[in-house]
C-alpha cells in the first residue's frame, strides 16, 4: 500500500518547509535593510549574501552543509542541514520581496513621517509597513511555494520526507508511476491554494507577482 507508507514523510516535509521559511524570514530582514542602506559595508555585505545565496543551487548548499562542513548539527542531521541551507537560499529572495515592498511605498510617506517627528519604529511598523505589505506578502507567498517544492531535495541527503518515503516504497515494489504521481499531488494540494492567494493579491492590487 503506497499511501500510508509515503505519508509517513509528510511531517518531516512540513517541518522542513516551515523551519526554513521561518529562518528565511528572520534572515531576510537584515538583508532587506542592508540593501537599502546608505552604509557601504551594510550594502556590500547584504549584496554579497544575496549573490552567494542565490548563486549556488539549493542542492549544492545542502551538500555543502551536510557533507562538506564537518562540525555542528548540520553535519549530523540532514533535516537541520536542509533547513539551514534552504533558509539561506530563500532568505535572499524574501529579502528582496521586503525591499521591493518598502520601495513601493511613495517617498512622500517617509517625508510625512519625518515631518510629523514620528520615531523610526513607529514609521516602519505603523505607516510604511502596512503599505509595503501587499507586495511583500504576494512575493513571499510565491517564494514559499518554491520553497516547499525545494524541500524535496532534502531527500537526496537522507532526510526522511515525502520523497524519501516515495523512493523507499518504489524500491520495495510499489508502482513507480502511481507512487510519484501521488507524491506530486500532495505537493500540489499545498501549493495550489497558496498560488491562488498570490494571484488574488496580484489581481486586487494590479501588480504582477507571478512573473511566470
Amino acid at each position: 500500500m503506497t499511501v500510508p507508507q509515503v505519508l509517513q514523510g509528510l511531517g518531516v516535509t512540513l517541518e522542513l518547509w516551515l523551519g526554513s521559511l521561518a529562518l528565511a524570514i528572520i534572515l531576510a530582514i537584515p538583508v532587506a535593510l542592508g540593501r537599502r542602506s546608505k552604509n557601504r559595508f551594510a550594502y556590500g555585505f547584504a549584496s554579497l549574501w544575496v549573490t552567494i545565496a542565490r548563486g549556488l543551487p539549493p542542492t549544492v548548499w545542502l551538500f555543502l552543509l551536510f557533507f562538506g562542513v564537518k562540525f555542528g548539527p548540520t553535519a549530523t542531521s540532514p533535516v537541520i542541514a536542509s533547513i539551514v541551507g534552504l533558509g539561506i537560499v530563500t532568505s535572499a529572495y524574501i529579502g528582496d520581496s521586503i525591499r521591493a515592498g518598502l520601495e513601493s511605498v511613495e517617498k512622500g510617506q517617509w517625508e510625512a513621517c519625518s515631518a510629523l517627528a514620528l520615531s523610526r519604529p513607529t514609521t516602519y511598523l505603523r505607516v510604511i509597513g502596512p503599505q509595503a505589505l501587499p507586495i511583500t506578502l504576494a512575493a513571499t507567498a510565491a517564494y514559499a511555494i518554491s520553497l516547499l517544492k525545494n524541500t524535496a531535495i532534502a531527500s537526496i541527503i537522507g532526510a526522511n520526507d515525502l520523497v524519501y518515503y516515495a523512493n523507499t516504497a518504489v524500491q520495495l515494489g510499489s508502482d513507480a508511476i502511481v507512487t510519484f504521481l501521488f507524491v506530486g499531488i500532495i505537493y500540489l494540494v499545498f501549493t495550489i491554494p497558496v498560488g491562488f492567494l498570490a494571484r488574488t493579491i496580484e489581481s486586487r492590487t494590479g501588480i504582477a507577482v507571478s512573473g511566470a
Binding site: R54, G55, S97, S104, A176, I192
Partner: protein, 230 residues
C-alpha cells in the same frame, strides 16, 4: 591557490555536462513553452484548460519528483531511458511549463496591428506566427527566458540524484576520493556561482529594457525571480 585551479580543472568536464543538460532541457522546454503559450491565448476554454492543467501540474511538482517520475516511472510502461535523457525530458517539461506563461504574455502583447498587417499582406496563419508574432515575442521574452535558463541550470544539479556525472556529481566523487569534500563542494559552488552571476547580469540588463515591452506593472525586478526556484 594551485590546489584550487587543479580542482576547478578537474571539475570542468562536470560543468560541461551540466551545461549540456541545461541546453538539452531548454531545447525541449522552450518550444514546448512557445506552443503552450500560443495555445493559452486561445479564446476557447477547451483548448486552454488542458494546457493550464498540465502547466499547473509540472509547475506544482517538485522538479525532483518529475525527474523520478520519468526515470523510474517510464520503465513501468516499458520505456527505459538513460539518466541523461531522463533529465532532458523531465527538465524539458518543467521548463516548458514555466516558459509557457512567459510566452503567453509575450504573444498576447504583440500589437494587434502587426497581425492585421500580416493579414492584409495575405500571409497564412502559420507564416504570421513564425515570421511576425514569434520574433516579436522573443524580443520581449528573452530576458525572462534567461531567468528560466538559470533556474534550469541550477536545477540540473538534481541530475546527480539519478547518477549523472554532472558538476555536482563530479565534485562529490572527487571529494570522496580525496577525502576533501569541503574543498571540492566549495569549488562546485564557485563554478555554479560564476555561471549564474554571468547569466543573471545579462538577464538584469535585458529585463530593464524589456519591462516596457511587456506592458505590465511589475513590482520591481526581484519579484520576477519568484519563478527562480524550481
Amino acid at each position: 591557490m594551485n590546489g584550487l585551479f587543479d580542482t576547478i580543472g578537474a571539475l570542468l568536464p562536470g560543468l560541461g555536462t551540466s551545461l549540456l543538460l541545461t541546453a538539452g532541457s531548454l531545447v525541449i522546454g522552450v518550444p514546448l513553452g512557445v506552443i503552450s503559450g500560443q495555445l493559452l491565448t486561445s479564446k476557447h476554454r477547451i483548448v486552454r484548460w488542458p494546457i493550464i492543467t498540465l502547466v499547473e501540474i509540472f509547475r506544482g511538482f517538485p522538479a525532483l519528483v518529475t525527474l523520478y517520475l520519468v526515470y523510474f516511472g517510464l520503465p513501468v510502461i516499458d520505456i527505459v531511458l538513460t539518466s541523461t535523457v531522463s533529465v532532458f525530458i523531465a527538465f524539458g517539461v518543467t521548463s516548458g511549463a514555466y516558459t509557457s506563461e512567459i510566452f503567453r504574455a509575450a504573444i498576447r502583447g504583440v500589437p494587434k496591428g502587426q497581425r492585421e498587417a500580416a493579414a492584409a499582406l495575405a500571409l497564412r496563419p502559420r507564416q504570421t506566427f513564425f515570421l511576425i508574432v514569434l520574433p516579436y515575442a522573443v524580443r520581449v521574452a528573452w530576458a525572462p527566458l534567461l531567468g528560466i535558463a538559470i533556474i534550469t541550470f541550477q536545477g540540473t544539479a538534481l541530475a546527480f540524484a539519478i547518477g549523472t556525472k554532472d558538476l555536482l556529481g563530479t565534485g562529490y566523487s572527487r571529494g570522496l576520493a580525496d577525502s576533501d569534500l569541503l574543498a571540492n563542494l566549495m569549488a562546485v559552488g564557485l563554478l555554479y556561482l560564476l555561471v549564474t552571476s554571468l547569466l543573471s547580469y545579462i538577464e538584469v540588463l535585458g529585463i530593464r529594457r524589456g519591462k516596457k515591452a511587456l506592458g505590465r506593472r511589475t513590482a520591481a525586478l526581484p519579484v520576477i525571480d519568484a519563478v527562480r526556484m524550481t
